[in-house]
Amino acid sequence: DAGVTQSPTHLIKTRGQQVTLRCSPKSGHDTVSWYQQALGQGPQFIFQYYEEEERQRGNFPDRFSGHQFPNYSSELNVNALLLGDSALYLCASSFVVLRHGYTFGSGTRLTVV
């Protein structure tokens, strides 16, 4: 049973560029959440998608946007990249009723130069 799959695993972008990260949730899960984790910090909540709608959002600017597709997979888009956007971006999936914790992917390491 495949867990959460994220792509790409690593990415280097230049300031001002745009990036798209992708996530396929664990089989049977319908909710996808995205987190940003800076080095030495805990994951920070970006937003959550359920039924193709953004259900909740953390304290991130509008440069961060997302999408969920009918097959429950999701994309995270970041526009006008800043150096401070360099981080590990984690995707977590769950079934709506969260009883067993999120299942996380291994993340995408984004470096902005």
């Binding site: 910090q41 994951p43 909740q56 984690l90 009883r99 996380f104 992917g105």
Partner: protein, 110 residues
Amino acid sequence: EDQVTQSPEALRLQEGESSSLNCSYTVSGLRGLFWYRQDPGKGPEFLFTLYSAGEEKEKERLKATLTKKESFLHITAPKPEDSATYLCAVQAEKDDKIIFGKGTRLHILP
């Protein structure tokens, strides 16, 4: 504002030396508290969910407990393979958001 504080930030133990990690939280209505383990360069791995004060969960050398203000992750006779960052997270009733602490980096020396 909902908040999660973990202590210590880092902990070095000898193999077999038991200890506890602390997670203090402030949240208006706790739906659940989660513990995760994270290895370098990997995503967090789910360990436990606790829902109410007095609840305890165990898995191998780990035991998690919960009070109304904090949770402890007790590690008994740790081994080097227990070295990792341990993350605590809380889910609030009012909006279901899950907030993480900064984690405790645990290093077990052989």
